[in-house]
Symmetry: D2
Subunit: 234 residues, 4 copies
């Protein structure tokens, strides 16, 4: 390998060294995209803040860090409600007797198969944690997988609401939030991910996921900063 | 928080402690899903092993680790060709005068805007790196974004080829490979990601991405192990 | 035009005359595609046989011809149930407070706006007509538009059930049935449309729709013949 | 049946008779949706005006009526170009060695299998008929099936161009045009179909298709009227 690199370097003056490109990459991971955010074109997605993940001690799938962000998520939800920014909730729940779940989902290690007692009452009702209860008229999407857009009408709903920007909060950062962010990005949405209103089950992966999202998919910022941006442009 | 947890604990005997759930989660990150892999139902996806990422020193987007996996990717490609496992290549390239690119892509830090000289010859032709040149008749999909399934006919192609399993190799692990893995998972495919035949620009994010994929989306294994599994089931 | 045709004819011996091509086209409209139908790979879709369209006199959207096919649809449903061919029902109904309806739907003449008293109880509950009530465990998909695949998980459900063939019956032939047939065709399904178990509000359009479907999208046959084919291959 | 109807009628005063509903339906088939059309939000889709369908005598798939609308299509294309309304062309052509074609397409009667000499040069290059040649910079989408949206990035392109309205012209009315209209409708676009700038191989089916589209999917109008509407709102 080293020889090849050296050879290439000899033949060409205009060139990027390994150090050049790694520095560029490293720097980009610490930066944020910049795009204009218009509150009247924005919706808030509250991802999977449901009892299974948030209610303390209830299930083996409980994400303690998700319980810890509830207050901040609530503040963001309340802010959006006051500003007429639509709040849309999702939950991983029963849809069509589970017949629409991705085919290999049941094999995944995160199902804890054989490790915890089977409990078919989990991930069925998709009840949103009581401190974050949806209000009458707010959309709740029960979804069969991680991403909120696949096999659901979320994009149509956002179109009908005239929204081209989504703020993502909820859990788990590196599963449902991250997948939803990627899907929103590909569908042409401006995506904002709240760094302190998303939660996962491993602090290192929280950071890793946010780095990847920030470099290529989404603006990542703490919720106070998101509110400030919305406030300024409102 | 602690008080709430304690309160809940008092009221209920059957309960999961914070330590319980974090241990379960940590363990699951180190495990792999298990599902049957049939060579005659499998396709190999070689993601974005194109000059822009692989050719040493050519662009600021060069991923040195991608250059380093070429030999192993080649071995996997050759194995699949011998076994009549279809090999499908993708490249991030010009499609429809770039008019189909996700709307916010240009704002992302990974475009290095203002940091490197603009060069419109990049990501236009989608030339696969010469050591991995597609053979006559092998499908090459030029795609407008990270994921190989969105806005492309990849799923139709796999259906027509009778494949329900995809092996993913290429670059960048936490962008095009990871997004493609998530999309394949949601479309019901069995997904296998090669741990030593994927590459990115940050070793920690390589590991982080594989951990997330392994826990919830894909079987993650070194290429030698993937070949062994295919061989055994062939 | 005639001159141009004549000119072209002079220059080239191998050529198709206007009469040739129109005869070929006309003949193809009267033919059927042929493909193998395997009962164990087939599902029955019962499209929108809901009170709004079927229950006599209840709504201005009542389709009398739909009421007339109930018995034959029932026979087909019963046959499929006996043979363990999954029966999937759809209904045009409330989903997400109607926020996921196609944006221009409300403007369409088939909504009879201003012509009939507004009745918000229509197309909300999606109750399947009582003679065709779904059984416990049978999938019912509430959909926001004509096509049963768009913005719904129908394709995932069919994948999970291992089905590559769909039989379509229900109403209206040239709206929900026809759109669903086109969508199934494009997703690679073998499509069978029952000529005497579909119904619309205009006999000429019933025939016209079936002609178009038969030439390019689906096998079109009376229900007795569909049952015979399933029986033979069972 | 009659008895059931009578019975229902007796029980309830507010009711719709068979005559009522058929009259409502018949009337709706002759009407048009009304929605606002903004030229700066509109794109023109020229569907499959390619040599295979338009060039006189060349293939058995020639649609003489398509050749006859060329002048009017040209006028519409020229008008849109003058007004900076993007013109997007589609063609049914080779994409990925035909591996992405819907699985049952080859079985359809409209392929004329066994009736005409096989000619693999058809539907490969997707050459637009010379009188309608796309200009430099105009998008041409080669598609594997009837609908212009499925497995193509057409929706992303329209989003990027800021278009929420599409005008559809081209051929065949009841295959590629009609399917594209249905897909555009479901994706939330305002759809306008040109009645004298679409063509098919059977005059009755031309009318039947336009009736169905007009009642539930699209505004249908002659091209002179479409131009007048654009002019008025320009």
């Amino acid at each position: 390998m080293t020889e090849t690199l050296a050879g290439t370097a000899r033949r060409k003056s205009r060139r990027y060294s390994e150090r050049d490109v790694l520095q560029l990459a490293a720097k980009a991971y610490s930066e944020n995209p910049s795009f204009e955010v218009k509150p009247e074109r924005t919706a808030l997605l509250v991802i999977d803040m449901q009892d299974e993940f948030v209610k303390p001690h209830w299930t083996p799938f409980w994400v303690p860090a998700a319980t810890r962000i509830v207050k901040r998520v609530k503040r963001l939800v309340d802010y959006c409600r006051r500003k007429n920014i639509p709040v849309i909730f999702t939950a991983f729940a029963e849809t069509h007797s589970f017949l629409d779940r991705p085919r290999t989902g049941a094999f995944m290690p995160n199902r804890y198969k054989g490790k915890v007692p089977d409990d078919s009452s989990y991930f069925r009702d998709g009840r949103i944690w009581r401190e974050l209860s949806p209000r009458e008229g707010e959309v709740v999407i029960h979804k069969p997988s991680y991403g909120s857009f696949y096999d659901t009408p979320l994009e149509s709903i956002l179109k009908n609401l005239g929204r081209d920007t989504v703020i993502i909060c909820g859990t788990l950062t590196n599963f449902c939030c991250g997948t939803t962010a990627r899907q929103a990005y590909e569908r042409g949405f401006k995506v904002i991910v709240g760094s302190d209103v998303t939660a996962t089950d491993d602090p290192e992966l929280q950071e890793a996921e946010l780095k990847t999202l920030r470099k290529g998919f989404a603006m990542v910022a703490p919720s106070a900063r998101i509110i400030k941006v919305l406030e300024r442009n409102g």
